[in-house]
Each structure stands twice: as C-alpha cells, then as structure tokens.
C-alpha cells in the first residue's frame, strides 16, 4: 500500500499535476507519526510512511496548509475523507486546489492501549497478519490486533470515502457500529452517577486545547475562549465550572458538523473520552431529527441550521427522551 502511494505521489509531482503532497512522516519510534508536506521525490522516498500508526487526520492539516494557487495532493483515510467533505461543504477549503487520493484503513493501533497495559521501553512494534508484536527492553509481547486497535477504529462507522479524485485499494462501505453503546450506557445511569462520571473525567482536563486544535471541525479564526473581548476567554479552568463550560460549548459548536473522527480523544494527553460528548450530540440528532452523518456528501445542510415544523419540543428531555 505504502509503496503504491509513494509511486503515485511521485508520478503526480513529476507530471506537474500537483506541486505538494500531504501525507504522513515517520519519526523516532514506530508509533509516532507526524503529518507533513512533501515537495520532492527524495523527501517522499526518505520519509513518507503509511502504516498502522498513521491515525492523524490529515484534513485539519490540509486546512491549515492550504494554498489556492497550486494543487496539493492529499491522502485521506475514510474518516479523514468525511472530515474533508465537511470542510468543503463549509467552504473552509477549496476543493479545486486539492487532488484527493482515498486510501483504505484497516484499523489503527493505539499505542496508548499498549502502554496502559503496563508495557514500557518499546523498541519496535510490528504487525503481522492479525498479530501485533511489541519488542521492548523488558521482553516481547504479542497482542491480537483487535486488542490494541484504537476505540474509534473498533467502532468504525464507515470504510467509504465520500470525496476523492482517485482511490488506491477498494472502496469500502458504511459499517454497522456499536459506537453509541457507551453513550447509551451513560444515559442509563442516574443523573448522580453521570455527574460523578463526568466530573471525574473532566476534572483531569489541563486545558491544553489539543482537542480543539486537532479537531477538523474547529476552524474558527479565533476561538471564543481565546478572544479576550468575548468575556469568556479562559487560559486555564480556574473553576470546575469552566471545565464544564469549555467542553460543553466546544462539543456544541461542532454538533451537527462533527463527523466522529475521534481525533479529540486521540490527542488528549489526559485520556478524557471526549468523543462521548460528540457522540451524544450525534445520537440525539439521529434520534430527534432523523439519521444524519456529517461529511457524508458535499452540500449537506447541517441539522442545527435546519428545522422542520414538526420538530420535537425541548421538554422531550424532561420526559426522558421519549416524544
């Protein structure tokens, strides 16, 4: 796969069809990957990588590095492609300046899962068939791939690419998922239990803004929480209220636009399951206003800038979600 991608990237660069390539670059360890812009065949030969650790969603990176006077080749996994489609819908990127190649993703490995299992001193991680071999300073360990696959990939919503110019590999399908199970589990708790759960999670927040800055739906020029004139600017949560406020408002601002790519939870240094906030909105939108997947096609009207006269009343919440 990686070789085919490299070959195609070099061809497109050589033909002048594109002048830049956005892809993934390898680093110190097998598991740390950086998004990068490549401009020459040498760079691609040296650094380009596509493997089980390339979880970074390139659509946000592309948004930040877009140039409209030249064409850029970008490789998108299915979930990246959803995010990109949403960005195109919102006119945040210029579709004409992009050459999109869809690439398949068979589930990315979450190294944090391996580390949480107590494994340290990791020297290399290789996957072979359904097995993942971890070679460490303190001995080797083998996992079945599903054990160390990231949560978002285990609950993959789709292996389809809503937007692309060409595909490498076969096009996948929208998947049946259990991604709302965790949300349902929380909904089934008592309010006291839910409150305790979220206090426990959100109190770990250090307000590093990684979730916001990595989020492909968060594309405001200046975030309201950075704007000193907004009255709610905050650099750190000085009170538990501000922890709640930041995460509620952030999740709300991407509600209906969040494609559930899971970057927020991936980047959180404190392992807060932020995707559970976004999924709550997605699940509510599906329940109240009909199934909706952000980024599924260009030009969709997001549910929060839409309505029907027969919409449910807000007291549906007080009635326990039943109309």
């Amino acid at each position: 796969m990686q070789e085919m991608m490299k070959k195609r990237a070099k061809e497109l660069l050589a033909s002048g069809e594109v002048t830049r390539v956005i892809g993934w670059k390898k680093n110190e360890f097998d598991y740390d990957i950086t998004p990068a812009v490549f401009t020459s065949a040498e760079e691609i030969d040296r650094d380009f990588i596509y493997d089980d650790f390339c979880g970074v969603n390139l659509s946000k990176f592309t948004f930040q590095h877009q140039k409209n006077d030249t064409k850029t080749l970008v490789f998108l996994k299915p979930c990246d492609s959803y995010s990109m489609t949403q960005l195109i819908t919102e006119h945040r990127v210029d579709r004409n300046a992009l050459y999109i190649i869809g690439v398949p993703s068979y589930g990315k490995i979450d190294v944090e899962k391996i580390k949480a299992d107590g494994v340290t001193g990791i020297l290399s991680i290789t996957s072979e068939g359904g097995d993942v071999h971890v070679h460490t300073l303190y001995g080797d360990k083998t996992y079945a791939k599903y054990e160390v696959t990231s949560e978002r990939c285990l609950n993959c919503k789709s292996k389809m690419h809503p937007t692309y110019d060409e595909l490498i590999g076969f096009e996948g399908e929208v998947m049946e998922t259990e991604r709302f199970d965790e949300v349902a589990k929380l909904e089934a708790m008592t309010p006291e239990e839910r409150f305790e759960f979220w206090r426990g999670e959100l109190s770990r927040c250090i307000r590093c803004n990684a979730c916001r800055n990595a989020c492909p739906a968060c594309t405001c020029e200046t975030c309201i929480f950075d704007n000193n004139d907004s009255g709610v600017a905050q650099k750190a949560a000085a009170d538990s209220f501000e922890e709640n406020m930041f995460h509620i408002i952030r999740a709300f601002h991407v509600a209906g636009r969040c494609t559930d790519c899971g970057e927020c939870s991936r980047v959180c240094p404190q392992h807060i399951p932020l995707h559970l906030l976004n999924r709550k909105f997605i699940s509510d939108i599906n329940k109240f206003y009909g199934d909706y997947q952000a980024g599924a096609e260009i030009g969709q009207r997001a549910p929060l800038v839409n309505f029907t006269k027969e919409d449910v009343e807000p007291d549906i919440v007080a009635k326990g979600g039943k109309a």
């Binding site: 409150f195 709610v232 406020m245 509600a255 906030l277």
Partner: protein, 144 residues
Amino acid sequence: MSMNEFKPKIVAFCCNWCSYAGADLAGTNRLNYPADVKIIRVPCSCRVNPLFILRAFQRGADGVILCGCHPGDCHYTTGNYYARRRMTLLFSMLDYLGIEKERTRVEWVSAAEGAKFATVMNDFVKTVTELGENKRLEDLRCKK
C-alpha cells in the same frame, strides 16, 4: 438554609416580540409571579446561544428559562425553530452531564398570554425551589 427559606434565582430570556410583552401583560393584569424571576429581553429566542444559558448558571442562576413566540409565529419567521433545536440538544447534553434537567426549560408564550406567563413562571419557580440550590453547574468564585 431550610427549604422554605430558599429563594431560587431564575433567569428568564424573553423574546421582545411576544414573551416580553406577555410578561408586561401579566403585570398590567396584576397577575402575580415571584420576584425571583429576572427577565432578560432578547430580540428573538434564537438570539440565545448555549453560552448565555451556561453563563447565567455561572453567575448564580438556579434555573434558566427561555420564552419565545409559538412555533410558526416568529417575528423573524423561523428564529424559534432554530432555537427549539438548539435548546433541545443543549438540555439533553446538560442532562447527560448529570445536571438536573428540571433547571432548564423552554416555553412558548405569546404577547396575549399574560396569564400563561404568570402560570409558567410560578410553576418553574416552584420546580426549582424544590430542587434547591444549583450545585452542579456553579462557579464558586461568583458565590463567595
């Protein structure tokens, strides 16, 4: 503080074109509703974004109610339809975070419904009084 002494602080966002006039009518008709309700006039229920609701709680509100024109009667044609979706999702999220869902409410009150305004406020104040002080979505700095 015993239950009887507790007087909740209620913030009511009222649409200029209907509910605010409804509150006025309640006043001219000498209908009683508790003085704990502080009305904030907004040009349309749609003007209220989730941050308004949260900031009201931050500043010490024990309950927040949004009153707008009946769906279909919006002065700006469709504003309250958007507000309806927004508030539904926000309230659901607050409930998801374990914050008492009875502390937030949306009611459609027209300019002619002075009596309804008073009834709604009386009922809401009663509900919030029973719930007691807002503890789960408070900012301690604003309370000391």
